[in-house]
Symmetry: C2
Subunit: 660 residues, 2 copies
């Protein structure tokens, strides 16, 4: 296996300093991480207990008791530790670090002498390890603990947890493989694959990379491991607590194990599983220069983002299995668009950018981040949407069972929950998503416009820069080079899709021509210390139409302004929102509203309200000819990510258009 | 209890002779009834066995074996016998009658000496009779057998089955009641109530009416019988086959037993159960002159038909529990609109018409009949929709689990199925829905315009008439009086809602003024034998708008022409149908198309097709400003009841409107 050494991540450092994002990262540091710590310890008074820390204490023999929570409960501790790692890297906090060190000792104490680590099987089903990969998330939990260990090691330099997970990974390597006596299998929930890549990068140990590749290569091969394993259990199901009929290979589409990954070209099944797998595939395609895998990644990217993605960057059209449905099926009201799935999409986009710097990956990354992901969290950091709808009628959420999964208000964060800690770990590692650099090509890509200080080691030498950004409210970015090498290098700034190709670059105040390469405005020159690059992508509110194949949005438009998708809320307009339409040629007026949480640009537009006065409540249908002319109204739209932070009510992203 | 004796049904005879309806009643007689007989006997080669006849043979001791099918399987035999009864009344058939007589002997042989009759409990759970009214449908099955017996008795004069069900009803009367030692309960699935009213009317036995009233009065009273019964079973559930938590009173809304029926004002829960109950309530309100019950019926009618009914006469907005959701929640794509529920609505409307002749009841009856109900059956009589959607995207039905219940093609009729035999018994008794007569008021109401010969006994004497109708394709009806009494009487012809109040009446060729009373054009005079009344309600295609509270139809219109609702099908237009819109002021051109099954009027309209050519498959979203002008297209709409009889494809009732 030939390994790529394009050195994208080595010795590069990025630290965020940004007005818009500062609020979110501070919220994560000051509220989310401490609150989750209380939750993991079952100390949130009126929330379901998590049991997660307690499970480790029981597994470690420090406490007596029964296992509590889900079979994958360990992963909540891991995700918390991972978020702590990122947070400490950006913002040292000795007390938090001491707490984390104690948790790490606890985790280490729960590890078996052979390296095995999983509190569910240790406490509840000893002897049944590795007998239900399909349902029991053992490798999934292992993967999250590996990610935590790498993050914590990179933040603190402490090897304790890294050693624990290396020992665990070494054990896994003795259990899984093609050699006789080993399991030729993989997890029902992908995660270990991308984690092993991180472990390889942190340790340089190629076996971890090879193990990741083994899991990816075996997935979907014949005979189907998950089906055969189920036969071994005689159909016994962990979730159903009884024997079920043996599933068919096609049922494994839910786990993306219905066919070899290289033959997959449509995003199917559970969308978080899919994203984690695609992320690992992209990692492996880059590190092993596997063009077949790269082609599969491109196909799956295209299908996911061009046929199965909401305008908010949400993916997963159905709550049945939290899954993809099929091309262009993007219902706004029965949507799933799970927060974790968009986070997985961001991981995938990030890895594709490392593979090949094309701006479309960053466009999607930005779309998911600024809309679906941050919209999932309330402005107090303690309430979350798991489902991120594009259309809400609160009464339907309450009274129509097909829409019960769509909550009209963010829910309190319960102990056992996947999305909030995922948001925490993403937002506290956001610095990893802003830039990539190619040392050999002497090129630094800026994908996201987020205020930050960064340094990169290129072949030409060390570069340090400071980015200041007025995004998302204004299209103005300023980069100042504080250290430059003696040889030329390239700066490549993303030309965002929302700029419609219009952006001005100034270097030291003078407008400068640039070359567009794969969507990046690129300038190669001998830079001087103190050089200032200003970058002004056109940022104007615009109405967006959806592909006619997306039936749910026919005759409708959405409002976007820069990376931000807008929505109508009942509180600014009225009910029913469906009776409103927007003039196709309407002027969109932007103004900053400091009263919205954090302050935000709101948009006003000319609309029409269907005539309602002449309808009596008890006339369901009548001739259209009786309808009076629609009345002109002023529509007010707010950023989607802020919806549901004021009075509960209806919400809609897609608005009917009218022509007059 | 004072009984009303307004003599609506006594000695009145109606026989259908109609071009449009003849096709359907012939289909029922020649295809549906024989096919169902084969199904009941497990002789349909590739269908699931019904077991229904076999269950009776085992219960009768004529055969050894296990019970098969659902706990309510007996009702399929009963509904078949009921349909046979109606069919024999209209169309004698000695061979069919002989078969039915044999079945009746079988049913009689399965009856216990004490009168009890239910093959499930006889074969599978002897000793557990009347211990699970909530789930086990014992009184429901009894009700259907009673309806069958009355229909068969009225058709043939044979008392054999009537005696069986009287004995059963007498037994039920010893089990249920307020006296000590009796069960103060009622069935989880209403049906016995309306059946006992029929039995009372057939036999004159008041105890049956009182028993019906007992069931209605007890329903929802405190303490809640169904909840208490569940406690007695320690929570054991027939369907779950295990103990479940004891339900709360509010969960009994599914069975309309969450509060006393007189306090109910919103249609909730399983929609078929609701309709059967409301039907019995209206029966009792009339027969016992119970104004409180009448008021409840009016409230429930208003809520059902004015806030929770689709334009096709479908009811039930969610497949979860085949149930109502809430006011104005009428999604077209995730709809339920079960065939049986619309049939129940027709029963309810029919009873309300007997209570008070207001045309709004007949308007709804006609709407449900000409659209949701007959649309459920394929033109070969062997394929059925249980769910009758207003919008279909076949791929979504297949691939989005939230729409799996919405089938894009009619399904083969399996042995165990409620809707097909319900359609059969309704269509074969359609003659009962055309007229009502008030003997005391000397008044004959014509609710439906269906060709028929009818005779009525009024206080003034005997009336015989012949109706000829060109409905639903032309607004022309002709009534000829072939026998008249010596004293005046009134003819009251419904002024249909779709005529917009415009209708011409001619008597013997001369335009005649009429009085409109509660929506009926009424003429009281001394009629002569041979008098001809011509009735020409305006029948023009028109665009219909929905109340703005019905969010699913915002900005859309449906096409109606007379009683027929129209739809667009992909085969006549193109995919995606959502890209089409109809001009609000479009001329609607009607023409008769003999090539459609049975021949039908189709409608052409001016529409617009959103520009699609400039969209590439892989551009999901782009600025609205790039959109080109919509192209003019000719839209073709066909009657909703005929959809899905040609090539499978998309279908839509509600079409976006455009203004230019």
């Amino acid at each position: 296996m030939e390994l790529s050494t394009n050195g994208l991540e080595k010795n590069n450092r990025v630290r965020i300093e940004d007005g818009f994002w500062g609020r979110f990262t501070e919220l994560v540091r000051e509220t989310v991480i401490p609150y989750q710590w209380e939750a993991l310890n079952d100390r949130i008074p009126d929330a379901e207990p998590s049991y997660a820390i307690r499970n480790f204490r029981i597994a470690a023999g420090w406490e007596q008791g029964e296992f509590g929570g889900m079979v994958f409960q360990d992963s909540d501790v891991a995700k918390w530790l991972e978020a702590v790692g990122y947070s400490l890297a950006a913002h040292p906090d000795p007390e938090l670090e001491r707490t984390a060190d104690e948790v790490i000792e606890l985790v280490a104490a729960a590890q078996h002498p052979n390296g095995y680590l999983n509190t569910y099987f240790t406490v509840k089903e000893p002897g049944n390890e590795w007998t239900n990969l399909h349902e029991a998330h053992e490798l999934y939990c292992a993967g999250h603990m590996i990610e935590a260990a790498v993050a914590y090691y990179e933040a603190t330099g402490k090897r304790r947890l890294l050693d624990v997970v290396c020992k665990f990974a070494d054990h896994i390597d003795t259990v899984f493989g093609r050699e006789p006596g080993k399991l030729r299998g993989y997890d029902g929930h992908q995660e270990i694959e991308l984690a092993l890549v991180k472990l390889y990068k942190a340790t340089g140990e190629q076996r971890y990379l090879q193990l990741a590749q083994f899991f990816i290569d075996e997935r979907g091969a014949e005979p189907n491991f998950l089906v055969e394993e189920c036969k071994q259990r005689d159909g016994y199901s962990h979730w159903a607590k009884k024997k079920l009929p043996i599933p068919k290979v096609e049922h494994m589409a839910y786990n993306q194990a219905h066919k070899p990954v290289r033959e997959q070209d449509v995003a199917v099944g559970h969308s978080v599983r899919a994203m984690y797998m695609y992320t690992a595939m992209a990692d492996l395609a880059r590190l092993t220069k596997d063009d077949g895998l790269l082609e599969a990644c491109r196909r799956l990217w295209d299908n996911t983002t061009k046929r199965q993605m909401y305008i908010t960057g949400g993916i997963g059209s159905t709550h049945h299995g939290e899954a993809f449905s099929f091309d262009y099926d993007l219902p706004n009201d029965t949507v799933y668009a799970e927060t974790c799935a968009s986070i997985g999409l961001i991981f995938f986009a990030n890895r594709m950018l490392q593979l090949e710097a094309k701006s479309e990956y960053a466009d999607v990354l930005e779309r998911a981040l600024y809309n679906n992901v941050i919209g999932s969290m309330s402005q107090d950091g303690k309430h979350y949407f798991y489902v991120n709808p594009l259309e809400v009628w609160p009464k339907a959420s309450e009274k129509n069972p097909g829409r019960h999964h769509v909550k009209a208000v963010r829910q309190k964060w319960f102990g056992c929950s996947c999305c909030p800690p995922n948001v925490a770990r993403l937002l506290s590692s956001l610095n990893d998503y802003i830039y990539t650099a190619s040392a050999e090509q002497n090129k630094i890509y800026t994908h996201l416009f987020i205020g930050s200080e960064a340094s990169f080691e290129l072949a030409a030498g060390q570069v340090a820069l400071k980015q200041q950004s007025r995004l998302p409210w204004e299209g103005y970015v300023r980069l100042e080079l504080s250290a430059v090498p003696g040889a030329p290098f390239s700066l490549a700034l993303r030309l965002p899709s929302w700029s419609c190709g219009n952006a001005i670059m100034k270097i030291n105040g003078a407008a400068t021509a640039y070359e567009i390469i794969d969507g990046y405005a690129t300038v190669n020159r001998q830079w001087k210390q103190g050089d200032v690059v200003e970058w002004e992508p056109q940022l104007e509110a615009q109405l967006i139409a959806a592909n006619p194949e997306i039936r749910a949005n026919a005759g409708k438009a959405a409002i976007e302004r820069g990376p931000i998708v807008y929505c109508l809320e009942e509180t600014d307009n009225f009910s029913p929102l469906a009776s409103l339409s927007i003039r196709g040629g309407s002027k969109l007026t932007s103004s900053f509203d400091p009263d919205l949480p954090g302050g935000a640009v709101v948009i006003e537009a000319e609309g029409r309200a269907d005539e309602r006065g002449s309808w009596q409540a008890d006339i369901p249908y009548r001739p259209l000819s009786q309808l009076q002319k629609a009345e002109p109204v002023k529509l007010k739209a707010v950023p989607y990510f802020l919806w549901g932070n004021r009075q509960p009510g209806e919400m809609a992203v897609w608005i009917r258009t009218c022509s007059e």
